[in-house]
Amino acid sequence: MAAPEVFSIAQTPVTCHAFNADRSQLAVSLNDNDVQIYARQGNQWKVTETLAEHDKVITSIDWAPNSNRIVTASQDRNAYVWQQTLDPITGQMAWKPTLVLLRINRAATFVRWSPNEDKFAVASGARAIAICSFDSENNWWVARQLKKPIRSTVLSVDWHPNNVLLAAGSADMKARVFSAYIKDVDKRPTPTVWGEKLPFNTICGEYSSPAGGWVHTVGFSPSGDVLAYASHDSSISIVYPGGPAIYTIKINSLPYVTLTWTSENALVAAGHDCQPIVYSGSEGGWAAVGTLDDTSSGTAKAGSGARAGSIGRLNSAAFNTFRNADTRGQTQDESGQTELLTVHQNTITSVRPYDVGADGNVARVSTTGVDGKLVIWDVGAVSASGLAGRLGGMKI
């Protein structure tokens, strides 16, 4: 039950983050036009480089672990692939950008490398996803677009481990699974639960959010046989396409905006409720297990007990101050404290796997948030207390 590692890396919101392969470096967007590269120095993260090329806010970053390339997407409708090359003047390694022709007329919202790192997908507000692959003859990245039947901004994408299928969550309240098969790049994929013949832009699945919320985030399980998505109607859904079964959990607190699978039977979701929640289940059903943010064991914040109500952000010290003033006429004891009772002090914008344990499952996840914090959580340290004891006896 290791305590989470907390780093305050910025005074501004962290839009997104991506680690390099050995987790010694971190690329973040501090909600502006530049990528900041941090290097870990002992217990601190120091900015070592700034990648400036975009001229609007960077919305998403992904760092390919094997080929060590960074791809960035921005509201300026462009994506750049950054590669470390030897600068002949200074004799040092420097990040050099290559422009990707996305051919979109709205902001790029999200980007992810495919598992083989030979393609990447850029989601956009132009009701399209650009699937980019490298054209070695012309020495540039070319894009093919997935368009139909997307009706609104695409907010997130996730690659299937077979390098061909792509899940996308969109503001038209749908999560979809597409084929992003590129003839020159991919071998013929073996049949999966999502389908057998998979030419480009085949729709392998389309799922609605239960109460009309934007689908903020999608994720394939490690095997790729299960899909999870979370939407703005405070719900999270897990799809077994072979079943076919969809498990929808309507949550009591504010919506999730990001999720990541940690094993075939568990995932971590986080968002406006400011704490990462672990879900676990199988083909038989899914349920929330607990929070990674066990504040009851913390020292300074213990004893408030307000979390037991499990109604999310209402449990802040500020809320309690007003409630005490209202119901008891108290105005002194907690005045001046506006701190939330969670580690993150604002919305968590991104949760990603950090390292993998001996059993092949994700052992730790990293989160960044609007509060400028980077937190690394031990996935095993789940506490059910934050969930009002709904699953009191459950052990992990």
């Binding site: 009706r151 609104s152 038209d172 309240m173 609605s208 109460a211 009309g212 919320g213 934007w214 939407s231 703005h232 109607d233 405070s234 719900s235 309507k250 949550i251 009591n252 607190s253 504010l254 919506p255 109500g309 499990s310 109604i311 999310g312 952000r313 209402l314």
Partner: protein, 154 residues
Amino acid sequence: MSYRKIDIDVYDEDVLQESELYEPDPRDPAQVLSDAKQKQAAVRSSLAKGDIPGALDIALDSAPYGPDVDEAKNLTLQTVVSILNSTKSSEIPAVVKALSQDSQDTLMKYIYKGMGMPGWGDVSGSVLLGWHEKLTEVAGTGCIVRVMTDRRTV
């Protein structure tokens, strides 16, 4: 000319229509209205027996939504509010807990709709606020978020 007031959507051939945002109610509007009237009668008889949970279950089941059913919507709102008004405040927490999650979401929709009706604040404002408080304690902020996102407005 104020450019902000130009409706740019009329120049977009592929504009996203309101009707694409949710599944339409399969029932015919006349059918929806007669269903609402039947439910009103059933709720009255349940209330006469003092069966609040039963009455709420009937009223919140397959609530009317979408266009062309304004009369049924108003009727159902009146039906729901009549139940809320005839519940003792000490009974509210138990009633709310007994509802299914879908019914809780639908009840929250009617509470907000009631709060939005002009002039209702003086008549049933305190009742609606009391129910809202108890329902939020049980169903959380998530329930309120679902009411705000759901295009199937009642």
